[in-house]
Symmetry: C2
Subunit: 296 residues, 2 copies
């Protein structure tokens, strides 16, 4: 079946126009613009940890497997170029199962301009695993790191947070356009994507003794309920939002940024030097938040 | 434990001198020489398929996990530069287990000049999996593909074949030096590494209607026994030899090649247009070989 799958892949993958050697040689060659900096990320998704093969379609699972990697590319301000895909499948997988999975991967690849240029295939006695490595490029001066936040920076997110497991974690579109626009704005100091939860991921962009105060009333919540406290708690800790979280210089006007971005952004707080993350409630009181994230 | 492991990794990984962002950001940045072509390969190794955690040390397993990827880099004539490591570990793995495994990976990384610049870590209910993606560089004119073999080429290997599972498959050194030397010699037409078995891998460097005749008496056999026929059979079909298999222009003198290479090479046959792979025995008779490889 592996041979059949590889034959199908070779026929299905778009022409390897940017590479001379693609699927089938020992390595794939890459053609990267010499004036841009390449960036790389790798993420493995595991059945029963990151998705559930019993209730979710293989196409949607394939989609997510590439999308989570592209979300990391977006968080650097980079544009994706290549990906390699390693499938480790249960022995009872059929050719049609692999094709469904791969069709989901290819959908996101085509939407994002990512070329699948290589991979590996194994079957074993265990759950489905999709391990993808993605490569993007970005002008060196535009790279958005995590450690470049400064005191007094304003904190923003690109969309509503929380309750992603109701569906968004499978169907989200990686914020690549938004990441590129943030990259082109030097007043944006640091960017990451929210995967483990707002509080944990915010902590990763607060180096040294930097801290933050978040306004509870400003946090955009996905699928808001009648219980605002519950909505906020989901937004703070759920994870898998795949929205961009970024900090902007306190002196900057954000008009040109909001004009350029195709989505609304939400200002949720401000950076200080208190070395902790606090939530300010509507009555003016604050509480210090525990740095804990979503456990898959 | 994941947090402890990441802390240990950050302290242990060599200074990310060639990258500005390393472990801990959304992506790692890469610094690739603009006049060289980057190549990429990915290979996942699975417990009970490619190694056996019950009888082999984690250090040796880590070693092999990177080495198999570097063998692919060598087969392109490239020099390794970066790797990213995705570990998917059984839930009962201890921090010391991860450290042992990683120490094996780092040994090969240091020997080969490969910088580990990123990764992913997951634990789950299943066997240990190490999924590595490696990146190398090579002058474009020197890249050694598989499809560039020509009729009448002479066929060589860089070392003895067969019975790798007695130990060699865990302890081999990827033929990086040899690959670079082959790359610098234009009379070398095609190169691959022997992973699935001599016959299957030879077939991959015989495009179109090209075929080959191999001399049984010329095949170097690992751990030869009293049973020459058995030795030959192991050499043809066992796989996991990780020697380079390459073709050389029939007009060329191979003196400068053998002078440059640090290891002996073995001429095992010649390319023809018969679209099959044949074995010539010492009595002059030939038999057509079935294209089947080692099944993990």
């Amino acid at each position: 079946m592996e041979a059949e799958f590889i034959r199908w892949l070779k026929a299905t993958l778009p022409q390897q126009s940017r590479t001379q050697a693609g699927i089938g040689d020992d390595c794939s060659t890459m053609d990267l613009a010499p004036d841009l900096t390449p960036v790389i990320t790798t993420d493995a998704l595991v059945d029963q940890v990151h998705f559930d093969i019993r209730s979710q379609s293989l196409r949607v699972i394939g989609r997510k497997s590439l999308a989570v990697n592209l979300s990391d590319i977006a968080a650097m301000g980079a544009t994706p170029v290549y990906a390699v895909v390693s499938l480790i499948s249960p022995r009872n997988f059929k050719l049609s199962d692999l094709q469904e999975l791969y069709t989901g991967i290819l959908t996101v690849a085509e939407e994002s301009g990512t070329l699948i240029i290589g991979g590996d295939f194994n079957s074993y006695d265990g759950p489905l695993i999709v391990s993808i490595t993605a490569i993007g490029t970005v002008p060196r001066a535009d790279i958005k790191y995590r450690f470049t936040t400064q005191v007094h920076d304003r904190i923003f997110v690109t969309g509503p947070l929380g309750r992603s497991l109701t569906g968004h974690h499978l169907t989200f579109t990686p914020r690549l356009t938004e990441g590129s626009i943030l990259a082109a704005h030097p007043e944006v100091h640091a960017v990451t994507d929210i995967t483990d939860g707002l509080v944990v991921d915010l902590d990763t962009i607060l180096p040294g003794d930097l801290g933050a105060v978040i306004q509870a009333s400003s946090i955009p919540c996905r699928h808001p309920s009648d219980d605002n406290q519950s909505d906020i708690s989901h937004a703070l800790y759920d994870g898998e939002d795949f929205e961009l979280l970024f900090t902007v210089c306190s002196d900057a006007k954000i008009g040109s940024l909001t004009d350029a971005l195709p989505v609304d952004i939400y200002e949720i707080g401000v950076v200080n030097k208190n070395n902790k993350i606090q939530l300010q409630l509507q009555d003016g009181t604050t509480q210090t938040l525990r740095i804990r994230g979503y456990e898959h």
